[in-house]
Amino acid sequence: MNCAELAAALENQLLREREPHWVEEARRHAEHCPSCSRLLELHHVEEQLAGLCAVEPSSGFLEHVMTRIKSKEPHRIESARRISPEAFQKSMIVVGALILAAAYVVPAAGQPWLANLWPSIGLMRSGVLSAYFVAHPPWAMILAGVAALLVVFGMALPERPVSKHVARKSTIQ
């Protein structure tokens, strides 16, 4: 081994990544070479760093962690923060249906509440939708349209796959 080889090797690779016999050879060479000795000395710091003492955990560290995790259920914490797809789907259908029902029974100007409920049904049965639209205010029609879209989207959402956690639990039971 010569100086150039040793310098090049240490430039590209850390001392502890070298084979033990290579390190021994490098040390033997460094004994007679002051410049390589300084270079190799730098790498002795590696041994010191490897022996850095660990920071000890405080008393009760484990108990603190275990107390904190007992109040949490794994796998459910993240999902609990956001609404589940099933709940969102059901909410959309329920809200849409409620709005649709409200739009359907909303009276025309001057009419008492529910006054047009039965006439509306009659008009729809006879297929005279234009008369139905005339009997209702425009905003009620827009509302009904939005509500119908909500219901359709809610029903069109794909079913959520069974979570791994639930599947696993049911397997264990």
Binding site: L42, V45, E56, P57, F61, V65, M66, K72
Partner: protein, 198 residues
């Protein structure tokens, strides 16, 4: 020396604990905490340079890991996975520390009490005055001391350190080279030869 080049194998006992926790036995998590509390705490302390904050952060790391245990691949070693969580949480905490320190400094300047301002981590360094090597490591920039801790103390491979820190293996090697030189200079500046360190 080959162990530093290769990825570590998952420990069977830890794999069993993970499976037990996933099956609903939360108490089995204690074995995981006991096994990894030392490395995680040491890393947190090295990044934050504050032992009390490191204790709290290490707890957060284990709680976060528990919540995300479903995402852990039992075919891989757990330490790099935990270290990655710790590194990201420590970085967030450190940013908060820096902002808080900046606010404290600004308030101190207003009160014309500049001399009374304590730098983060100073108390820890003072408390560990006897540990010369730790002082030298604390003096390194964050990236370098993190790389040093993970590579030398925790025996992660260069590739694993790079994955944890989100940098290239070449950059990790550069950090390690600079860190070694800097530690040696720091020790010499204190008039200490490496051989004096126990």
């Amino acid at each position: 020396m080959a162990r530093y080049d290769s990825e570590q194998e998952p420990e069977p006992a830890i794999v069993d604990s993970v499976r037990a926790v996933r099956a609903g036995n939360a108490q089995a998590y204690a074995a995981i905490v006991t096994r990894f509390q030392g490395p995680i705490l040491t890393l947190c302390a090295a990044i934050l340079r504050d032992r009390q904050a490191a204790q709290e952060l290490a707890q957060d790391v284990f709680v976060r890991a528990y919540q995300r245990l479903d995402t852990f691949d039992v075919r891989r070693p757990m330490k790099p996975w935990l270290v990655k969580i710790a590194y990201h949480l420590a970085q967030e905490k450190r940013r908060t520390q820096v902002r808080q320190a900046a606010r404290e400094r600004a308030a101190a300047i207003e009160r014309e009490q500049n001399d009374a301002v304590e730098r983060p981590g100073q108390s820890l360094i003072a408390a560990e005055r006897s540990d010369l090597l730790w002082q030298a490591v604390y003096a390194l920039p964050m990236a370098e001391r993190t790389a040093v801790l993970l590579y030398y103390r925790e025996s992660l491979s260069v590739k694993e350190v790079a994955a944890v820190m989100g940098i290239s293996p070449g950059t990790v090697k550069t950090h390690l080279f600079r860190a070694r030189s800097q530690v040696q200079l720091n020790l010499r500046a204190k008039g200490i030869d490496e051989g004096d360190i126990p």
